[in-house]
Amino acid sequence: MITGIVFYGLAIVLLGLSFFKDRRKTLAALKKAGKSLVGILPQFLGIIVVVGILLAVLDPQTINRILGKSSGVLGVLLASVVGSITLIPGFIAFPTAALLLKGGAGYMQMGAFVSTLMMVGIVTLPAEIGFFNRRMALLRNSLAYGFSLLVALVIGLVMAL
């Protein structure tokens, strides 16, 4: 809610300044904003519904069953795969991770889970390809995936200290 207020406030202040300086430019900016927003809306709405379905199917209990107490390399790989499919908003991701930790998952696995959740998105891949290109989207996601495994390793080591 607060972020929304900050962003709308900022937009309104900037719009006011812009309008004060140049009406025509401001209208052009608004037109551009509206056009791009309407342009991406169907795709973003699709992503939102897909995420809704995935989260309903992959609830914490199910994720817990998948990851279980399987630790070690297999656990890290499973956690990273689950993290990569879904694009979970922070408000669900972090409590889920905390719950999984209580359920017996290791820190290394949670590092892989949280990092891939944030950086790797298969659901959003079509959108990413659309905005940039195939090579850039695939490269960014695979590099981020590989890197997340490193994050897992470091977190596992740091938490064991």
């Binding site: 929304g4 904003a33 795709q43 709405l45 809704g52 944030m118 950086m119 905005f131 960014r140 977190i155």
Partner: protein, 182 residues
């Protein structure tokens, strides 16, 4: 012409259409999960309404007010550490899901920001957003959050440098042409 237009409409709407059919299926098979799906979808929708329209207005203003030369100076090929820091700052101050960063990145590219800095922005947007960090801190503790943050900061820049190396001239041109046309 007619078929072309309908093809375009289909191209834009197929994800939503497919998702809606799947969602309907889930609702029929499993009431409980169906209800949860609706809950999550409504939450995401709220999140989207809260951040996307103002982000697009700010982008529109940036597009008409910031001259290309200025963007190149701040975030272009020769912007060095200044460009990197600005990209990290913009990404961290952002809100909303990662896909909200795609149109932002596209406008920056159109205005002359370097591919490297744009990839850094995407990285920061995904991993170092400040509101999200607070939440992580509360749920997973300081040690976990700090360790992840430090490694990810290094990773964001590393990934950007690697991408810069792996992207061909042709890829860059294709991406830039797409941005210019947007």
């Amino acid at each position: 012409m007619q078929t072309n237009a309908s093809k375009n409409i289909l191209k834009r709407w197929w994800i939503l259409l497919a998702a809606a059919i799947l969602g309907l299926g889930l609702l029929l098979i499993d009431r409980g999960r169906g209800a949860k799906m609706i809950d999550v979808t409504l939450y995401s929708l709220k999140e989207m309404i809260l951040v996307l329209p103002p982000i697009f207005i700010i982008l529109g203003l940036l597009d008409v007010w910031v001259p290309r030369e200025q963007m190149i100076r701040f975030m272009g090929e020769g912007s060095g550490a200044k460009g990197i820091l600005l990209a990290i700052f913009l990404g961290s101050a952002a809100a909303g899901p990662l896909y909200g960063a795609f149109p932002v990145a596209q406008v920056l590219l159109k205005k002359g920001a370097s591919l490297r800095n744009v990839v850094i922005l995407l990285g920061a947007w995904s991993t170092t957003k400040i509101p999200m960090l607070m939440f992580e801190l509360a749920n997973l503790g300081a040690r976990f959050t700090l360790a992840r943050l430090v490694v990810d900061m290094v990773g964001i820049i590393l990934i950007a440098l690697l991408m810069e190396r792996f992207m061909s001239e042709k890829d860059r041109e294709e991406i830039l042409a797409k941005a210019q046309a947007s």
